[in-house]
């Protein structure tokens, strides 16, 4: 009976799915795991139109870790900034969250968001064009251009106004720095809420910040106990496997201290995160 059922099932099995194209896999990501339950889905956020028909005369104006920034003109001839970013499953989820935040923020001191598109394996985000670039570009010329106190007060005041708005919405920017402060040709100062360039890093940093503090503490402990020769024996094991100094060395000190302080889980989580290799005595289950 069972064998017959299996046979029937095999015969009734649906045809194999078509080979996965990029669009299919993206759609799968959208539906399978929206970033947060409350945020709108990617289908609502990402426009299905072809941006090449809407924006013309694209000219590259910048390049960052996450992608490239272009200057383009929309149909009515207004300047816009187009940020093109390479997509993967992890970055997409974070970027969608960022877009939903940007889209729902409207303040004179926050860069305006216009639209976003998926073009092949890239996400294009169209934003207000800020002709003056970012504050970092000013600070890089510190040897020749120094800001006066009233100018610094102006920049701080404009930033604070945007921060007050963000905070009143119970949001935290978490990445305020000169790279995210954009300047307009008219002297306007705006926050770019889009943190595409450092999303994954910040994400990691926030999530591992508690572990990071642990690392710092143990680093300090290591410096102390190393004097007594206690740690030497344990570090040798690690050094045999790799003689790289730096973070790896810190990691070895971390596993010693973890051994001493019974805080196994945290130390191991960090060790795993940073070295991509489980520390001694760790079994992956």
């Amino acid at each position: 009976m069972k064998a017959r059922l299996r046979l029937v099932r095999r015969h009734c099995a649906p045809p194999p799915p078509p080979p996965p194209s990029l669009y299919v896999s993206l759609a799968h990501i959208f539906r399978a795991s929206p970033p947060y339950p409350s945020s709108p889905s990617a289908d609502q956020l990402v426009s299905k139109d072809d941006p090449n028909q809407i924006y013309s005369d694209m000219k590259k104006i910048g390049e960052g870790a996450a992608g490239e920034v272009f200057l383009a003109f929309d149909k009515s001839g207004n300047k816009v900034a187009v940020k093109k970013m390479q997509l993967n499953g992890e970055s997409l989820k974070l970027l969608i969250t960022e877009i939903s935040i940007m889209k729902s923020s409207s303040h004179p001191n926050i860069v305006n968001y216009y639209a976003s598109y998926i073009v092949e394996d890239q996400l294009w985000v169209v934003m207000e064009f800020m002709g003056g670039g970012c504050l970092t570009e000013v600070l890089e010329q510190f040897d020749s251009v120094q800001m006066t106190e009233p100018q610094m007060a102006f920049a701080s005041n404009e930033t604070l106004k945007a921060l007050l708005y963000i905070h009143q919405l119970h949001r935290i920017h978490r990445d305020i720095k000169s790279d995210n402060i954009l300047l307009g040709d008219d002297g306007s100062v705006k926050i770019g809420t889009f943190v595409g360039a450092s999303t994954s890093f910040i994400y990691l940093l926030i999530h591992y910040s508690f572990v990071l503090s642990f690392l710092l503490l143990t680093h300090w402990c290591f410096m102390r106990i190393a004097d007594f020769g206690y740690a030497a024996q344990l570090t040798k094991k690690q050094q045999k496997r790799n003689t790289v100094v730096g973070v790896r060395l810190l990691l070895s000190s971390l596993s010693i201290s973890a051994h001493l302080s019974h805080s196994h889980t945290r130390a191991r989580a960090l060790s795993l995160a940073l070295s991509c290799r489980p520390p001694t005595g760790w079994r992956l289950s």
Partner: protein, 119 residues
């Protein structure tokens, strides 16, 4: 990175105020504090020693120094929020947007001059 963020404590909107303070120091001195140390060491120093005072205090008004110090208070509860900081006397001296334009233009000119020198 604000001390509470490094320590892994609960954090809130005031981490942005801390970052603003660091950015203002960068505007004044050209680079953020602890740049001479490796990143992990810098994070360690922030949690243990806090932020060092401005390098040339005589160059800056007391309002400016107080504003920076307020932003960089280590204790979260003592650090003012955005609303409170917006009332700070230092911000009353803010210039107009038109007076800010020269900063952008001078920086652009300096950048172009530097790139011309390279060629």
């Amino acid at each position: 990175m604000a001390p509470e963020l490094i320590r892994g404590h609960d954090y809130g909107t005031k981490v942005d105020i801390w970052s603003l303070g660091i950015m203002v120091m960068e505007m004044a001195e050209g680079e953020p504090p602890y740049m001479e140390f490796p990143p992990l060491r810098a994070l360690f120093l922030i949690t243990t020693k806090g932020i060092p005072p401005l390098k040339e205090p005589e160059k800056w008004s007391s309002d400016f120094q107080d504003f920076v110090n307020q932003c960089l208070i280590k204790e979260v509860d003592d650090r003012p929020g955005a609303e409170e900081l917006l009332k700070h006397p230092f911000l009353k001296r803010a210039c107009s947007p038109e007076e800010f334009v020269p900063v952008i233009e001078e920086a652009r000119a300096a950048k172009e001059a530097a790139s011309r020198l390279q060629f």
